[in-house]
């Protein structure tokens, strides 16, 4: 359990949870401000994260930056167009709008002591388990 990789990801998780909180993404009120176009601060957070991420991806590809653990060029992973993508994205959008929570922010909210997020988190675990089972069936044919 106490491998180098696990410690690294523990640190990444702490950083990510902290930043989600400082972004305001752990407040359902601020999520509803985004979805109802009343305050776009989260849109700027997401747009900046995606834009800078895009620039870094481009630079890594352009100059062949190598990953420290593999010594190979950093992988640019493209998730597949899987069966269920659209249906899944619609369900996700409904759940996100209905609660003001997404998988990452649910965890950060639990850490902040927001009790309701325990219910949402439990639902995400059950839903993700069911989703994986459905994915396995879809893949089999």
């Amino acid at each position: 359990m106490l491998s180098r990789r696990n410690l690294l990801f523990l640190a990444f998780g702490i950083g990510f949870g902290f930043l989600l909180s400082r972004a305001g993404a752990t407040s359902p009120a601020i999520i509803s401000d985004l979805l109802l176009f009343e305050d776009l601060r989260l849109l700027w957070v997401i747009a900046t994260a995606v834009a800078l991420g895009g620039v870094l991806t481009w630079m890594a590809a352009r100059w062949g930056w190598r990953a420290r653990n593999t010594g190979e060029p950093i992988t640019i992973q493209h998730k597949p167009f899987k069966r269920g993508l659209i249906v899944g994205a619609v369900l996700f959008g409904l759940g996100w709008a209905g609660t003001g929570v997404c998988p990452g922010t649910a965890l950060a909210m639990i850490g902040e002591g927001k009790g309701f997020a325990l219910w949402v988190g439990a639902g995400i675990v059950l839903g993700a388990g069911a989703g994986s089972a459905i994915n396995r069936r879809l893949e089999r044919g």
């Binding site: 998780g13 989600l20 800078l52 992973q77 959008g93």
Partner: protein
């Protein structure tokens, strides 16, 4: 800038959006640089769910996903402890006008609402192959077409349904 101003800014519960967005991008890229692994949340939830089923052998190679989720919880705790409020009281959730009107008032009704909302989020994320982390922050930044489509649907459906609900509720 005076040091006192900087310290005060660090302990404020909300940071400038562009700054937080840039730091999230750097952190997500650090994962790819150090571990060749893009940001990912919802897959870890599916791994967590597999622990609940007896007799399923645990994939130790994927332990880091669960450790990452645990880290996010600790990160939220760290943020709450350093948000400038005196002591540890736990941060009260702010639901705003919209969620206050939308979510049932009774404790059973609201618990069911949050649980079912979570189910939709978890199920949808696994069927779509990612969530706002894996598809939007990581996938779109890597220029993945499937992630662009998934993210567009996430936002279109969330904005559309929230606007419709707000209109129906009159808030």
């Amino acid at each position: 800038m005076e040091i006192a101003t900087v310290i005060e800014a660090l302990f404020s519960p909300l940071w400038t959006p562009v700054l937080v967005g840039a730091l999230i991008a750097l952190l997500a890229f650090a994962q790819r640089w150090l571990a060749d692994q893009p940001l990912s949340c919802s897959t870890g939830f599916a791994n967590l769910a597999s622990f609940l089923r007896p007799g399923v052998k645990r994939d130790r190679e994927a332990d880091w996903r669960i450790v990452f989720l645990l880290g996010i919880v600790l990160g939220g705790l760290l943020a709450a402890l350093t948000d400038g409020a005196p002591g540890w009281q736990g941060t009260a959730a702010e639901f705003g006008v919209f969620y206050t009107a939308l979510v049932p008032e009774s404790s059973l009704g609201s618990a069911l609402w949050w649980l079912i909302g979570g189910l939709l989020i978890g199920l949808g994320a696994r069927l779509a192959g990612g969530c706002t982390s894996g598809h939007t922050i990581a996938g779109v930044a890597m220029g993945a077409p499937a992630s662009l489509v998934a993210s567009a649907v996430f936002f279109a459906v969330a904005v559309g349904s929230a606007q419709l609900a707000a209109w129906m509720l009159g808030v």
